[in-house]
Amino acid sequence: MSDNLSIVLFSGTDDKLHAAATITAGAAAMGTPVSILLMYWALDAFRADRISNDHGLAYDASRPRWNEPVEHVGDIPWLDTFRMAKELGDVTIRACAGSLATLGLDASAMDPLVDDAGGIAAFLAAADGGQILFI
């Protein structure tokens, strides 16, 4: 496994956030540092006044399937999984400065899970040597 994992988290639906939280927690549990950059709809989902809301499911969930519709996503809410990941290992969650500007948000509007705001070059430099995922 590479020595660090970086995730550009762009999506804001519960299913994708849950997937990202699971990957983060797994990496953290294995001792792999994780760096997350929140962009657009993920950034919006991490707002202090919205983080506990129902964020719905991605389009894929609405396509016809043979099995039962998804009633809830995961046993544990994704935000709790992120919290556990931070307790387990080295996890940094950063608000993308560009997306903050696009959404008209100040970094202070974010849930305490978000460590700070940062730009793309700092994120990419920190990602060097490891892998970058886009979720």
Partner: protein, 91 residues
């Protein structure tokens, strides 16, 4: 990443007479970084640019970019509602 040299104090930074000021206030990431890169091409090696930015990510970005490309990031001081970041061209 390159090793950290002795950081300049705020007083030292404010006293710098930069050779070029890049006013990127109002511009959001990645704007200020791209403007800094463009401006770097217009000064001589050894000269200093000063980037003004109201974007919170700029100082981290410029620091990382400087280390990666080989310029010297001197530091950042606050202005009124923006920050001033100083970089010396080395290449």
């Amino acid at each position: 990443m390159t090793t950290v040299t002795t950081p300049l104090s705020d007083t030292d930074l404010i006293a710098i007479e930069s050779d070029k000021v890049v006013d990127a206030r109002g511009s959001a990431c990645p704007g200020p970084l791209l403007e800094a890169k463009k401006a770097m091409n217009t000064i001589q090696i050894g000269q200093t640019i000063e980037i003004w930015s109201s974007d919170p990510g700029t100082k981290g970005d410029v620091s990382a970019w400087s280390a990666k490309v080989g310029h010297t990031y001197l530091g950042t001081v606050p202005g009124e509602g923006y920050e001033r970041t100083f970089v010396v061209r080395q290449k």
